[in-house]
Symmetry: C2
Subunit: 109 residues, 2 copies
DNA sequence: GGAAAATTCAACCATTCGGTTGACTATCTT
DNA sequence: AAGATAGTCAACCGAATGGTTGAATTTTCC
């Protein structure tokens, strides 16, 4: 069953809009509208993305009046990370170089 | 550009057949046929999965006679892990519990 | 030289994806 | 009671996904 969880988690993470929403939620609870706002996307579109994230267990919601407040649920991220760290031994030698490279790219942009 | 790399990497990882192929490659170089064998899948189907993995930079190939030998390329895994570790602070408190839980599940099965 | 093996390619298929629009529901505000 | 606001639902669309089959290609083996 762990296998299928990874399917769902990695699929949820494979979309830049959804990763952006998670990043936004890292700063605190957000409504669907607030999550949609940075992206050129309809309300219904955002609602679908939120449903995917919820289906992956990456967020939870609570209703406050007419708005839905979403908050981050990090467990699936931890599981995905655990899976990725299986492979650590294959890259550790080069990870320092990689980290520097990503830093360089970030500041170049 | 880092963003799109994550799209492609996470998408490649979102399929159990492809993750299985990576696991198989962790033990050493494999031909397409050897990669296909554990899965109830056609040769051409396996070839497509391999192409996805290659497109994500997760494997490289070299031709030896009429067979294609694939080997693991861990860099994209390292990048994905780097991204996931951004979120570490959201789960660290509970990671020990999670790790135990996954261990328990593994041995229960 | 000819058969067998390891792949790839092209065409096809059903399903899913990410997006839209428009109608609907629920809640708040006035 | 009448908007306006926040969100969902259902239907649709085009593109991509994961799979197949069958023909073609390259290399090896006899």
């Amino acid at each position: 069953m762990v296998e299928q969880e990874l399917d769902i988690t990695f699929h949820a993470l494979a979309d830049p809009t959804r990763r952006g929403m998670l990043a936004s939620l890292a700063l605190g609870e957000k409504s669907i509208g607030e999550l949609a706002q940075p992206f050129a996307i309809s309300f219904a579109g955002a609602s679908k993305h939120v449903k995917v994230l919820e289906g992956a267990g990456l967020i939870a919601r609570r209703k406050v009046g007419r708005t839905q407040l979403c908050r981050l649920r990090p467990e699936p991220l931890a599981r995905a990370d655990l899976w990725l760290r299986q492979w650590e031994k294959f890259w550790t030698i080069r990870l320092d170089r990689l980290e520097a490279l990503i830093e360089a790219e970030k500041s170049r942009q």
